[in-house]
Symmetry: C2
Subunit: 336 residues, 2 copies
DNA sequence: TTGTATGCGTTATCAC
DNA sequence: GTGATAACGCATACAA
């Protein structure tokens, strides 16, 4: 059995409250007694019961990080960044994976509603549903969204400016003399995907290129989907000369399909992928990518959340970060 | 503020204990009252405070998964498998990343010692230190190790049989007529690495090949280390014709270095890598790998842990799983 | 500076 | 079947 405050109090021959104060570095305890208490605690390897502590103090120093997809290296990087920042502030994180299932999201949400965590960060995923909104209201808005939109602009969020990112990508491809640029994104009823499309359209317009709706493709975000979409495309009427693939796993599959089909990158098709991480960097040829500001996304989201928690700041804040276009071989025209 | 048992009791005009029984599906509460209570709870979106519940019941239905490295896709797969199994059993997981730092491991261990979780699974990492041993003793051995060894064979564990895996890999390479097979593994004072070396030695002996200590290389498990070790090797006295790389990230770097050096796989060097996942599968040419039984590692570790927790089973168990050799292009000799 | 008393929200052990 | 009541381990307001 674990040793408790009461045990220490008995051993040190003081009151429990004194022990509590000593252990928590609170004022109002004599130097002598404090040292004695700390010594005893250490000797007996005392660990405060966090459940009891949380119950009494209404604070657990834990936050939930709820991610829609664990397969994405970019998301993992964001988590690592959050964890690093949290560690520095004395918080621990609980990592939860919803696998894009709404019911799991709701179940993890109860971590917050049942006071097991002081706040929650949501990474990615579809449009925010009603349960999240409700929870946010009832839980003093101790929620931060990363790369996720809500219909009502209500949540404190840290977002990647996909529109601007895609715009840069198109611009670059146009400079490289590619004319028929395909966009591979996600479901069109997802607001974030609409944002990408809007960046794509704007860039085409500003470059004087015609928009061809047939060059916009919506797929799931996995490798197979990326693979399949290419097969579909080369069977189609309009054959692009360049691809902008806006998610990591799709990018992987797309590149595979191109190579498997006997085509060459960038000679037959230029490719701009998404995410600058170990996965995309392993691909041959070296891939031009939109680099997601993963480090900053994580750091900022945690900072926002701690503000919400500690300052009871309930005014919502939004930070928008622009991805960086990292140009490598896969998008360099051989004719330039 | 969140609604509590007491509130519901008041609304339903019954005692708190009755509400508790009703909500927990315990016997001893009338059908009528039970329905009434459940209705009120639902209407008010009641969520039991898990801290209080855990404190009173001495059970949180949460387990900690403490991993040494989040960068490894194989480890992520193990976690996903654990999470899936846990979900089915009504457990949630807390995912912790130690980054191979002993102090972080110790701090996360306090999740267990402070009763925030019912048990813990450790994935990977160096030899088990004294703090883990101590914790295991004081916490009724509610600890399971995955791919991790302890000096004293004391912990319930699920292990990959690296020795057997490497043995198969050597055997295969020998069949393909490779003669100078290099082994790239981790630090030699790690027991797991010694196991790999032992499989390597046994296979060489059984194949009638000479052992050359200069063909065994110890590196860190990251990409750069894999890259560097190849540079070092081709500067060396003994040039191998095949590599067995026993960790994912090292494998990535090694392959990169080979290709960067202008060499061809498998013509100049055959390669057997580690881990059958998205990362290794993206590599060109298709990589022969030792496929880690990630799914089973996760599932079994959770089952073991639940047994330890619920059955108070303190007899230690060990399960050993053999990796599967998946043969692809990178290890096929052009002369066969 | 220190001790006493109370409460945090639940579960569990008694009575009735 | 139901209701008091005492834990669970800690924090804190207040009294001393």
């Amino acid at each position: 059995m674990q040793i408790t405050l009461k045990d220490i109090a008995r051993m040190a021959d003081v009151a429990e409250s004194t022990v509590s104060r000593a252990l928590n570095d609170k004022p109002g305890v004599g130097r002598e007694t404090k040292l004695k208490i700390l010594k005893i605690a250490k000797e007996n390897n005392y660990r405060p019961n966090q459940l009891a502590r949380g119950l009494a103090a209404k604070k657990t120093n834990m936050i939930a990080v709820i991610m829609a997809e664990m397969d994405s290296p970019g998301n993992i990087e964001i988590v690592k960044s959050i964890e690093k920042a949290a560690d520095e502030k004395g918080y621990q994180i609980i990592l939860c994976n919803t696998n894009n299932q709404e019911d799991k999201e709701e179940s993890y949400l109860s971590l917050l509603e049942s006071n097991q965590v002081d706040g929650a960060i949501f990474i990615g995923g579809k449009l925010v549903g009603s349960h999240l909104l409700r929870a946010s209201f009832s839980q003093d808005n101790r929620i931060v969204l990363v790369n996720r939109l809500a219909e009502e602009n209500f949540f404190t969020s840290v977002l990647t400016d996909y529109s601007q990112g895609i715009y840069q990508a198109v611009e670059h491809l146009v400079e490289e003399n590619f004319k028929k640029i395909a966009l591979v994104c996600g479901s069109r009823d997802d607001l974030i995907e609409e944002e990408k499309i809007s960046g794509y359209k704007n860039a085409l317009r500003d470059s004087g290129l015609d928009l061809n709706q047939e060059l916009i493709f919506s797929t799931a975000n996995d490798r197979q989907a990326g693979y399949n979409v290419f097969l579909e495309i080369i069977e189609g009427d309009v054959i692009p000369d360049a691809f902008i693939s806006t998610r990591e796993l799709t990018t992987i599959g797309l590149v595979e399909a191109i190579k498997m089909g006997g085509y060459f990158i960038p000679d037959d098709f230029a490719v701009v992928g998404y995410g600058d991480n170990i996965l995309t960097s392993v691909i041959d040829p070296p891939l031009t990518v939109l680099s997601e500001p993963v480090e900053e996304l994580g750091k900022s989201s945690l900072e926002f959340l701690l503000k919400l928690i500690n300052d009871n700041l309930d005014s919502q804040q939004i930070k928008v970060l622009t991805p960086e276009l990292i140009i490598r071989e896969s998008s360099i025209s051989k004719y330039n």
